[in-house]
């Protein structure tokens, strides 16, 4: 059974907002006692998704939640925007970082940095990506 211990929302409308998200995610990860490598992974993942939200989604928000399942705690980040959305999610997940032909959102790479990764998107309806890292 998951309990929600904390929830905060941050706007993503500029470059500095991406930096702010990185800094608060790191702060929470340190507070929860994540190992250094895991801290780096979740902050890097957050940076990637925040940037996508800004550059591809036209701006949006990041919700930071701290969850507990009794024995372990986790950080869950939800990135949401009301941008163009992604038509072919499977393809987007296959693309890397090169902006050559694909979207270059680096989603598959980000997925490898976290324990849980969910993405919801429809063309014209925006995109929502939820990542969770357990301590």
């Amino acid at each position: 059974m998951l309990t929600l211990e904390m929830s905060e929302v941050f706007p993503i409308h500029s470059d500095s907002d991406i930096v702010a998200v990185r800094q608060v995610v790191r702060k929470r990860a340190v507070e929860l006692g994540f190992r250094l490598v895991d801290q780096t992974k979740i902050v890097t993942g957050a940076s990637e998704l925040a940037r996508n939200t800004l550059n591809y989604g036209g701006g949006g928000s990041c919700k930071l939640e701290i969850l507990s399942n009794g024995a372990r705690q986790a950080i869950r980040l939800t990135f949401e925007d009301h941008g163009p959305g992604i038509a072919d999610i499977d393809q987007a997940m296959k693309d890397g970082f090169t902006t050559g032909g694909g979207l270059g959102l680096g989603l598959s790479g980000t997925k490898r940095l976290v324990n849980e990764f969910e993405i919801y998107s429809k063309p014209g309806e925006g995109t929502k990506v939820v990542i969770t890292k357990w301590k």
Partner: protein, 129 residues
């Protein structure tokens, strides 16, 4: 807005990134460096990232771009001091840094560049004989 300082050491430009840069700052650094390479006819660019706790795809791409542009301008790029946690994360992310040489610290980075410049000169000497 603050700019990242670029130091000139002989024919090598040294950039030490110590802050969590926002994207615009990174882009400015890329432009500044390109201009300085041309202005000083530098043959080497040393990027010290030993203070960086996070290197994401944007910074990664910036580094790759700097390396590519330097190469066109006949300069070598060496990235030094990457932290273990950052290296592990970049490998997991699947981000590659093509055309970028790496070294453990500024000293070894300098050695790489100067020895390659020296061997260029001796090759040239041999050619002239």
């Amino acid at each position: 807005m603050d700019r990242i300082p670029i130091l000139k050491m002989g024919r090598i430009l040294l950039v030490t990134i110590q802050v969590d840069m926002h994207d615009r700052m990174a882009t400015m650094l890329q432009d500044d460096l390109t201009q300085r390479i041309v202005a000083t006819r530098a043959r080497g660019v040393l990027i010290d990232i030993s203070s960086l706790e996070v290197v994401d795809s944007f910074i990664g791409r910036m580094i790759g771009n700097i390396a590519a542009m330097s190469s066109v301008l006949d300069a070598q790029t060496v990235v030094v001091g990457m932290r273990p946690a950052v290296a592990i994360t970049l490998v997991e992310l699947g981000l590659e840094l093509p055309g970028v040489r790496t070294a453990l610290n500024v000293e070894s980075g300098m050695t790489i560049i100067s020895s390659s410049l020296q061997s260029e000169e001796s090759d040239a000497d041999v050619g002239n004989e």
